[in-house]
């Protein structure tokens, strides 16, 4: 069974049709890239998948269960982790504490009033950070972290949920090119090892073509191509709207 199935998803803001009838599926262990120019509707799609936005129409199914319109915190409970295009972490906590919070939430221990956080879920949080190359930053406050490092913290937070589905909106923005490839290779490794379905957006075409198993191309809210990297690269429509514009790396 597919981890995520999306059916005819639609969303408009006032007059702007941001997403117009998008359908696709992600399999366990698969790296699926969602690409398209700025304003194509990628982030809007992500926001509808984890419940941040309610779709105007369409269905979202996680492991066969309909999760359309569920609140983000319920979607998280069902095993979805996400990172944001504009990072959101807890600025008054250290990197380690941020990850501990995600672990504590995953273990449903956030209501506890007595034991200090410093003594809970410390080891697994440290292990997770070590895996993502963030061990040295563990005790630094998130409020003063470099942008690229914040992206890694977000990934650690998402992974702490032992997710079945990982949603990553521009996970490598703000990183040096070398770092980008490294992080996505790491993500792909973890995803395959644990059978996590990964949906990600990315502006760096090197990253996309070297790490995606499959690619979706979104243009003005509609899917215009879907398939293996080689096929998508060759698709004339894609070349026209996206690659042809010369923008292989752009803003966010």
């Amino acid at each position: 069974m597919a981890t995520l199935e999306v059916e005819a998803l639609r969303k408009s803001f006032g007059g702007v049709q941001a997403v117009r009838g998008v359908s696709f599926a992600v399999q366990p262990g698969e790296m699926l890239a969602l690409i398209g120019p700025n304003g194509a509707g990628k982030s809007t799609c992500f926001n509808m998948l984890n419940g941040q936005l309610r779709p105007d129409a369409g269905r979202v199914r996680l492991l066969g269960q309909d999760i359309t319109g569920l609140a983000p915190r319920r979607v998280w409970r069902l095993g979805v982790g996400r990172t944001f295009q504009i990072t959101a972490t807890f600025g008054s906590m250290t990197v380690l504490e941020n990850v501990q919070m995600a672990l504590l939430s995953h273990h449903r221990r956030l209501g506890q009033l007595w034991t200090p956080v410093s003594r809970m879920d410390r080891a697994p949080a440290e292990a997770l950070l070590a895996r993502l190359g963030m061990a040295a930053q563990a005790s630094r406050p998130c409020g003063i972290l470099a942008y690229g490092d914040l992206k890694r913290v977000e990934l650690a937070i998402a992974l702490a949920n032992e997710p079945k589905l990982l949603l990553m909106d521009e996970p490598t923005a703000g990183m040096a090119p070398q770092e980008r490839v490294g992080l996505m290779a790491l993500t792909a490794g973890i995803a395959r090892e644990r059978g996590i379905a990964v949906l990600f957006t990315e502006h760096d075409m090197d990253v996309v073509f070297s790490h995606a198993d499959r690619i979706l191309v979104l243009d003005r809210g509609a899917l215009i191509a879907e398939g293996a990297p080689a096929a998508v690269r060759a698709d004339p429509r894609v070349r026209e709207v996206y690659l042809g514009s010369g923008a292989t790396q752009g803003g966010h």
């Binding site: 504009i86 600025g91 939430s105 956030l110 506890q112 409020g143 949920n161």
Partner: protein, 615 residues
């Protein structure tokens, strides 16, 4: 029927006066985002200045009307001075610090007014040409009230012209909508803020000056008007002039007819309406939701680490003092020390909401007072022994914390704070007006400890143990997952929700927990004093708690503890040493806001960390 018409007219006159003050407050808030507690003081100054001018100038039209207008302008100048000397320096400070600073101004103005005009009520002359009345439906209605009814709409019209027909007005409206945009356009923001503050203060002064023929001028005008003006501004929607007009009308008429229909609960009525409006429309009648907050990790709050070593030593020393000193102390000193312990817990409970919770409460005294009344009512009506009374206190406070909190924590920022104020005022009104049960203004007397705890020393140790235990429990909670979840939703609502945190529930439970803790403090206070009064739930006590927390600093729990000790001690000493304690306290508050914006504990911590960094 005729009576109703006259009542409606008199409601309109009140609405008009209320609108003048509220308009100034809302315009100032719209541009500067400052919740100006001192606005009521400007209103009072307007009245006092008008009294001086009108009684000094030659009688007649020129003397009276010239005096009123000059008083309004003079008030505007005073406002301008306050803006330039104080507020201009703290526009970037957190909302609550600005509030604290303006409250310092309130205290200073109170004593300056007392020094200048004395404590007695002053009666002004009536307005020349408007001394008589007019026959309406066979009943006489004062001409001056009719005049006031006209003033409100005229001022509204003039303001609308000003805002929509002049370049300055366009800038003001733009700044109200998006402050950063105006800054980016390179407009001279300083001049804009200063001129808006001048205009707002003129309106407050005019509102006060025009009261001269209606009521006596006294030193209580500031706080009584500011509460009403807050209600009007919040009900109308912060920053909305039209909303202020609409809300003034609503509140004015509510007052007029409330007295006819339900004289017993007029005080409650206004705040009930405010609570209702905010529940249905969280941004007031005509207010707009503020734009989305920028950034996700942007919280400037520092990480809470383990307590620095000097602080631990200091804490140990303080504890030793608290335990040993009383053995040598007399009864009076013991009473003072008992209060210290109680206020430490009271401040610590508010800190949970304000610090980790990121919410503001202008009405925390409600839970302190509900605790006190819970204990006193149990003692009076159930003849409960002291321990049962002390148990009833947190129970009552917690119950109402759950009820009121359910509404308050849904809103954010100033609206949430104003709703806490509304509920506190409702609780106060009930205590004040339900005479049969609460004794009204006379309070409930004879709430004494059981005989085993009657010696002051024993009661002190009991209080110390309970307050210390409760405060340490709060500390434990802040460091536990629940406290972290509370901070998480404050830091980033988006991320908190995305990792499964129910922000509403977390805030709600924290609010109720804070209420329980304040209730414990209130219960102990009732038995310490032997009586309870409506003032236990009044605004001044809520402000006391705010001051303690902000003086100490909101970042860590050491802040409110130090703040409570400093504030209670300072007030105690000042009241004993000088009649002008408000002036001095206000001056100290203003100085603290200007020079220690992180509070006392925050400043000490920063200094300690800096010194360690250099080494």
């Amino acid at each position: 029927m005729e009576n109703l018409v006259l009542q409606a007219l008199s409601g309109l006159a009140s609405a008009s006066s209320l609108f003048l003050v509220a308009a100034g407050l809302t315009v100032i808030f719209g541009v500067s985002r400052i919740v100006n507690f001192a606005h009521g003081s400007f209103y009072m100054l307007g009245a006092y200045l008008a009294w001086t001018l009108v009684t000094t100038l030659p009688r007649g039209h020129l003397g009276f009307w010239g005096g009123v207008v000059a008083a309004a302008l003079a008030t505007g100048l005073i406002g301008l001075v306050v803006e330039v000397l104080l507020l201009r320096r703290i526009y970037r400070a957190p909302e609550l610090f600005q509030l604290l600073a303006t409250f310092g101004v309130v205290l200073i103005v109170q004593d300056l007014a007392l020094l200048t005009w004395g404590a007695q009520d002053l009666l002004g002359p009536r307005a020349p040409g408007l001394r008589g009345g007019t026959e309406i439906l066979g009943l006489r209605f004062p001409d001056y009230e009719l005049f006031l009814i006209v003033v409100g709409p005229v001022v509204l019209g003039l303001l609308l012209l000003l805002f929509h027909r002049t370049r300055w007005g366009t800038l003001v409206r733009a700044a109200t909508l998006d402050r950063e945009m105006v800054g980016a356009l390179g407009v001279n923001q300083r001049m804009l803020f200063t001129s808006v503050f001048f205009l707002g203060s003129v309106l407050a002064g005019l509102g006060g000056a025009l009261q001269l023929p209606r009521e006596s001028v006294n030193l209580h005008m500031d706080l009584s008007i500011i509460t009403e003006a807050f209600v009007v501004v919040v009900v109308g929607g912060l920053g909305s002039l039209g909303g202020a007009a609409l809300a003034a009308l609503l509140i004015g008429e509510l007052h007029a007819f409330g007295i006819l229909v339900l004289p017993k609960i007029t005080l409650v009525l206004v705040f009930l309406v405010m609570a209702l409006v905010l529940v249905v429309r969280p941004h007031g009648l005509l207010g707009k939701a503020p734009g989305p907050a920028h950034g996700g990790a942007g919280s400037a709050e520092p990480v809470i680490g383990p307590a620095p070593r000097p602080l631990l030593w200091l804490g140990a020393a303080a504890l030793a003092t608290a335990v040993l000193l009383p053995l040598l102390a007399g009864d009076y000193a013991l009473s003072v020390l008992t209060e210290f312990a109680i206020f430490v817990l009271f401040a610590a409970s508010l800190h949970l909401i304000m610090g980790p919770g990121g919410m503001a409460s202008f009405g925390h005294a409600a839970y302190f007072g509900l605790g006190a009344y819970g204990a006193a009512l149990a003692a009076k009506w159930l003849a409960a022994p002291m321990l049962l009374g002390l148990a009833a206190a947190p129970f009552a406070a917690g119950l109402f914390g759950l009820l009121f909190g359910w509404f308050c924590v849904r809103l954010s920022g100033v609206y949430s704070a104003m709703l806490t104020l509304a509920f506190a005022q409702i609780a106060w009104s009930v205590a004040f007006q339900w005479v049969e049960v609460t004794g009204g203004d006379n309070g409930i007397l004879g709430v004494w400890p059981d005989s085993w705890a009657a010696p002051k020393l024993v009661y002190y140790y009991l209080t110390l143990a309970l307050c210390l235990g409760a405060t340490l429990l709060l500390r434990r909670v802040i460091h536990a997952p629940f406290g972290f979840a509370l901070r998480a939703q404050r830091d980033s609502a988006l991320r908190a929700e995305a990792i499964g945190i129910d922000a509403f529930r977390t805030r709600w439970l924290a609010f109720a927990l804070a209420a329980v803790m304040a209730g414990i403090a209130g219960g102990l206070f009732a038995y310490a004093k032997g009586s309870v009064f409506p003032t236990f739930l009044g605004i001044p006590r809520s402000v006391d708690a705010l001051l303690m927390v902000l003086l100490g600093g909101v970042q860590t729990l050491s802040g409110p503890i130090i703040g409570a000790l400093a504030y209670t001690g300072l007030q105690e000493q000042l009241v004993r040493l000088t009649d002008l304690w408000r002036l001095i306290l206000g001056g100290i508050i203003v100085a603290l806001v200007l020079f220690f914006p992180q509070g006392l504990a925050g400043a000490a911590r920063a200094r300690w960390e800096a010194s360690r960094g250099d080494a």
